[in-house]
């Protein structure tokens, strides 16, 4: 019988591929951003962070990502609770509402939101015919529209981890708390919420990292007027031909993504250890 150590060799093709075509390019990008003419230098970063416009873009990107995550969480948490108690046809409806939008691409959904938010678009027409507004209001190209669109696209990635944790949770725990006289509010904050936190952390980390680096959604909903870090990256590569700037911003995005991954897994471990 072939020894089980040799089985490890089966991982080599896939690992080699990812090491060469994924890890190495990222590492090279990161190293290059700290170099000028082969010398270690923080000059590119100093240039980036001393530019007021760049700082406003960085700030906007983080703000939009944080607000998108918050909005998604506010919608997702109650939804996950309802879903964890649903059965039969209702559960199927919830599941279809999660899986179908996940299977439809970002390009299609971002395009749909741009039709909805257009000045003579679906939302304005509806609001006007309901008599809620007299004249169309400008929605496309606003940050609010971007946050709503982004939250819509990333929502399933927030609902599903929370749902998974709630579904696994022993439903007798809140009941036990209730039989001991705990009020519903007390039960929620002391039993359900703490137990569901690992799902919340996973969902927030995923949505935040998707939202920080989203590109298609802002380019269709807010356009060039309000840049985000990824739009600035794409622009500096594809139009401005300023690759040094593009590489620096990519590295900043990469560092944000890695910190979110490390931070969230640290938090998840701590939460796991406490229980």
């Amino acid at each position: 019988m072939r020894s089980l150590e040799n089985i490890g060799l089966l991982a080599l093709p896939g690992l080699t591929f990812l090491a060469v075509v994924f890890a190495l390019p990222l590492l090279m990008l990161l190293l290059k951003s700290f170099q000028i003419d082969g010398q270690f230098s923080l000059e590119e970063y100093r240039l980036f962070f001393s530019d007021e416009y760049n700082m406003s873009v960085l700030w906007r990107t983080l703000r939009v990502a944080a607000l998108t995550t918050l909005l998604a969480l506010l919608i997702a948490y109650p939804t996950a609770i309802a879903m964890s108690r649903a059965n039969g046809i209702w559960l199927s409806i919830f599941l279809v509402a999660m899986v179908l939008p996940m299977s439809v691409g970002v390009v299609v959904k971002a395009f749909a939101w741009s039709i909805i938010f257009r000045t003579r678009g679906v939302l304005n027409d509806t609001l006007m015919s309901l008599g809620l507004i007299d004249a169309p209001i400008r929605m496309l190209f606003t940050e609010t529209a971007l946050i709503i669109g982004a939250a819509n696209v990333f929502l399933p990635f927030m609902v599903l981890p929370i749902y998974a944790v709630l579904r696994q949770m022993d439903s007798r725990l809140p009941e036990a708390a209730a039989s001991l006289g705990a009020t519903p509010v007390f039960r929620f904050f002391n039993v359900t919420l703490p137990l569901s936190l690992p799902g919340v952390v996973a969902g927030c980390a995923f949505v935040f990292s998707l939202a920080v680096s989203m590109y298609v959604i802002p380019s269709l909903i807010v356009g060039e007027r309000q840049q985000t870090l990824s739009m600035l990256t794409a622009r500096s590569f594809l139009f401005l031909r300023n690759e040094a700037l593009g590489a620096t911003i990519s590295s900043i995005l990469l560092i944000i993504a890695i910190s979110v991954v490390l931070g969230s897994s640290w938090l998840a471990n701590r939460l796991g250890a406490r229980q």
Binding site: M1, R2, L9, L10, A11, P13, G14, L15, F17, L18, V21, A23, L24, P25, L26, M28, L29, I75, A76, P78, T79, I81, A82, M83, R85, V99, P101, M102, S103, V104, G105, V107, V108, F111, A112, W113, I115, R118, R120, V122, D125, N152, L155, V159, L160, T183, P184, F206, S209, V212, S213, Y215, V216, S230, A234, F237, A247, L253, L254, A257
Partner: protein, 266 residues
Amino acid sequence: MTGTDRLFLVLSWTIGLCCVVFLMLPIVITVAASFTSSSVYTLPPPEWSLRWYQSLEQRSGLWEAVTLSLNLALVSTAISLVLGTLAAVAVTRGRFRGREAIATFTVSPLMMPGLVVGVALLQFFREIGLRDAYWSLLLGHIVITLPFVMRTLLASMSAFDFSLVDAARTLGLSYPKAILKVLVPNLAPAYLTGGLFAFLASMDNYPISIFLTDARNKTLPIKMLQYLEEQPDPSLAAMSSGLILMAVIALVVGARTVGLNRMIQG
């Protein structure tokens, strides 16, 4: 059940159902808008018509973009399924150190910003002198599809009883044959869901592809964004509806064969 309990429940169900409507909204709007007779987006349409579907024939380069995207998605998913099976067997069956790290590493492209991966690949391919757009795109798309496949395969292989493979080998099958004839059919659900999500992710990818295309090799999402800038008429809604139909078919196939509940676990 106390009053507050009931209030909590009513509130979460209300928000939950609003969430369902909110999630389905872009899909419903797109499909409805594609059947309009008007050349602007108004809902409900003044009259229903198929004219925007007919107009797709005249879109230059659309067919080439569709075939390129399908080609990339199929080939990269197939390669990922092979590489993924080997790596997942190694991680679940091997007795060496660092298996956890390997598992995390193979899924990690999911957590990295697509645009950054695209930029890194652009510079890397230039460095090593790879100029061919098709090959660059294909390599990039394997990086997109592999983590989706790995995620589902790792999850379901850890629950698979490998003594079945050993039994097949005792009965005279070679190791590769035993994997192919025993493991793969048993994990069919995982292959289906992992493969489906990988395929759809490849079809939809924009941020990596945009850095690897040239004038002749444009994938469907890139072409669609280009049309949107040049001539944003409802034919884009018709194209989108085509993609939505593809997603619906994938969903129906998935739900029929593995069940919706298993699809979300991957």
